[in-house]
């Protein structure tokens, strides 16, 4: 990471206006922004530039964004945020399954873009061993395996705790249904979203002030869940 910058970002998008807009927003926040207008140009820049994160459009003039992502993942684990007008669940899940870290559809809000960028950058920055993570009035103490809400200890079953920990580790980022199910129940449970819904409802009842209007544990329709950052 560069000395006086928050991080070096590579934006791969062919829309000049979007590029200008992103550059403005991101540079104002203190990021170093580089641009590529085609998939191949973007892939070519990665080795020399060594970006801390990539913002990738799916509709590019030369290569499909998913192909760019696949080629990128052959050699690099750099965090990738997909920024696209494609908003179908299928497009989003296939991007996430092929290694994207998060997804934002156009039109987007600046605030949301910045928080997504922060979250994907943290994936490479966080070194294990952050003892206590605080989300609103919920505290998760990973070393003591303790969860408190407004100072009161919350009792979670082993699976509920495992699910919460998974979400905490990915906080700020979307976690797909498939990913959670595979991590908690193994690959054969990948399609059993019924389990997942039931557990999320239970977790919300224990952690949220109003479980039917969750403030921390957000649903990403058709994709997965996202634990907010703060």
């Amino acid at each position: 990471m560069t000395a006086n910058k928050k991080g070096r970002l590579l934006v791969i998008d062919d829309e000049v206006q979007i590029l200008r807009l992103l550059r403005h927003s991101l540079e104002t926040e203190g990021y170093e922004v580089h641009e590529a207008k085609t998939g191949l140009a973007g892939l070519g820049k990665v080795p020399s530039l060594q970006p801390d994160a990539i913002i990738l459009d799916l509709s590019l003039p030369d290569l499909d964004g998913l192909k760019v992502l696949a080629r990128l993942r052959e050699s690099s684990q750099v965090p990738v945020l997909i920024l696209s007008v494609r908003d179908s669940e299928k497009d989003i899940t296939s991007a996430l399954d092929s290694g994207a870290d998060d997804y934002l559809t156009k039109p987007f809000r600046e605030r949301e873009l910045l928080s997504r960028v922060r979250a994907i950058l943290r994936r490479t920055q966080v070194v294990g061993g952050v003892a206590v993570v605080r989300i609103g009035d919920v505290e998760v103490d990973a070393t003591a395996r303790l969860v408190r809400r407004a100072g009161q200890e919350v009792h979670l079953t082993a699976k509920e705790y495992a699910m919460l920990l998974l979400l905490v580790q990915h906080r700020g980022r979307v976690v797909t249904h498939r990913f959670i199910l595979r991590a908690l129940w193994g690959p054969e449970a990948e399609e059993d979203t019924g389990y997942l819904r039931a557990y999320i409802i239970r977790l919300r009842k224990k952690l949220e002030a109003n479980p039917s209007d969750p403030q921390y544990l957000k649903t990403e329709p058709g994709i997965g869940y996202r634990l907010v950052e703060e």
Partner: protein, 536 residues
């Protein structure tokens, strides 16, 4: 049938085609016709008896010219004749031959001549032996001949079936299959036949024979019975035996694909072998019909996939071309409101509202395209009803600003098996509809619960607006139809999409009145029981 069949001199009535007719050389049928007609020879007893009498008479006549001392040799010649005859004639003629030979030999050649009595006891033994030899030879050759006949029959059946299959596999499409099949059957059996393809699922059930004139109206019940019971009916069977037609269902794996109607000339019978063969033909036909169905289904599948691909391309370009500038407008406006909030607060909000409306409009247009192209494939998943309502409400928070919103989710509301995005769209459209058509300040409510206990779930959006004019109810679900007195804006796609999406999800929508005034639109979705007890 397409090819006229020339009448034959030998046929009893010119209306009935005979097997021996020669179709145009070179056609596949010409070859088939060269095969012997499948009509197992019924032995002609009269001719055989005549043959036996003739042979014995000739031998006896020759014997009368020979010296009497040759009577042993004459006896042996008689035995030889019986042996030879047994190769040509059946059991009873041979039996008769045995008796005749014994009597003739005794009468003409054994002393005393021209007398049935014999002088020496050993001659009685000889006569008895002749008789027994004739009997045994007759029996055993008859058995051999019967076996040979069975084998010939089987071979003929196999050949006919092979021929039938070969011609059918060469046929293209069901129409040609039917033409080839009926022609083959007509030629093999000297019959007139026709086919009807039918499917049990179709309502009302109807058998439409390709050659309707061959099946009398009053015999249709027999054909229908055969179809439904998967057993032959009509003439030559126990069911509807007074019919003139014989009806064989096309059956494959307990499923009927149609009926084969065969009309034989009056007086002709259907041998068990022929009836077996007809059933074998029917099975082959069923197989081919099933194959054709599968082929047609895969064709439809291909067309649908093609349409989906086209739709995706359209969606891709339209959404890219419209949404990218929209994204720029919205994001710039977002920045604008943050930096210049104090100077021009309203302007940014105006741009934002317009932008959101345009975004929704683009979304609705794309949804309608998806519905119209038939490319809508719901992705069913377990959805938390609270999530569904939250997502819908959050998406249009601005539009709902002026309406107090009440959300009521029944305590026993289960998880819903549906496509999240589609249900969210439906709810968004219903809520927008309520917000747009009611005066500011009036409440809007959304209620979710189980309906008709355990059968379906519902989401009802109710308002306190003017309600729906009763005559316009059906109209409102049409494309590009906007309610009377609706405020400016909107394409009138909202409810059309609601109906299309809910149908795709296996549910429905109902317009109604909100008790106490206003409109109420209810979305019904099928209720499935979720597996809510995952392993720990």
């Amino acid at each position: 049938m397409s090819a006229p069949i020339p009448p034959t001199k030998a046929s009893p009535s010119p209306a009935w085609p005979a097997a021996a007719t020669a179709p145009a050389p070179g056609s596949a049928l010409a070859e088939a016709a060269r095969q012997p007609r499948f009509d197992p020879a019924t032995p002609n007893h009269k001719l055989e008896f005549l043959l036996v009498f003739a042979v014995i008479a000739v031998l006896t006549a020759i014997g009368l010219f020979l010296p009497k001392s040759y009577y042993i040799q004459i006896g042996l010649v008689y035995l030889l004749a019986i042996n030879v005859l047994s190769l040509r004639v059946g059991r009873w003629p041979i039996f008769t031959a045995g008796i005749l030979v014994a009597l003739a030999w005794d009468y003409f050649f054994v002393y005393p001549y021209f007398d049935i009595r014999v002088s020496v006891g050993k001659d009685y033994v000889l006569i008895l032996i002749y008789f027994l030899v004739a009997l045994i030879v007759g029996q055993s050759t008859a058995r051999i001949r019967a076996q040979a006949a069975t084998e010939r029959l089987l071979k003929q059946q196999a050949t006919a079936l092979f021929q039938f299959i070969r011609l059918l596999t060469e046929a293209r499409g069901l129409a040609e299959v039917a033409a080839v099949a009926t022609r083959q059957i007509d030629e093999l059996l000297g019959a007139k036949s026709t086919l009807s393809f039918a499917f049990e699922g179709r309502h009302p059930f109807e058998l439409n024979f390709l050659e309707p004139s061959l099946v009398e109206q009053k015999e249709l019940p027999a054909a229908t019975w055969a179809f439904h019971h998967r057993e032959p009916a009509g003439r030559f069977t126990d069911r509807f035996s007074n019919c003139t037609g014989h009806y064989v269902p096309l059956v494959r794996e307990a499923q009927a694909f149609g009926v084969l109607a065969v009309k034989l000339p009056p007086g002709k019978t259907l041998s068990p072998g022929q009836s077996d063969l007809l059933e074998a033909f029917a099975r082959q036909l069923a197989l081919i019909v099933e194959r054709e169905h599968l082929r047609a289904a895969s064709e439809r599948e291909k067309i649908l996939a093609e349409s989906e691909k086209l739709h995706r391309a359209l969606l891709e370009s339209v959404s890219h071309e419209l949404r990218t500038p929209l994204a720029v407008i919205m994001a710039t406006c977002d920045k604008f409101s943050r930096y210049d909030a104090s100077a021009y607060p309203d302007f940014a909000a105006e741009i934002n509202t317009a932008g959101q409306r345009l975004t929704r409009l683009v979304g609705n247009l794309l949804d309608q395209t998806r519905l119209d192209s038939g490319a809508l494939k719901p992705h069913l998943d377990w959805c938390d009803p609270n999530d569904l309502i939250n997502a819908a409400v959050k998406g249009i928070a601005n539009a709902l600003e002026d309406h107090p919103l009440e959300v009521i989710v029944a305590a026993d509301m289960p998880l819903v098996r549906a496509d999240f995005a589609l249900v969210e769209h439906i709810l968004v459209n219903l809520l927008l509809n309520a917000a747009l058509h009611t005066p500011p300040g009036t409440p809007v409510s959304i209620t979710a619960g189980l309906d008709l206990p355990g059968q379906r779930v519902f989401f009802a959006v109710a308002d306190r607006g003017p309600g729906f004019p009763p005559q316009a109810q059906e109209q409102l679900f049409r494309k590009f139809v906007r309610g009377q007195g609706a405020p400016a804006g909107g394409l009138g796609l909202g409810l059309s999409i609601v109906r299309g999406f809910s149908a795709a999800l296996g549910g429905g929508v109902a317009l109604g009145e909100n008790p106490g005034g206003g409109a109420r639109i209810t979305l019904y979705l099928p209720h499935k029981v979720a597996n809510n007890s995952p392993p720990e």
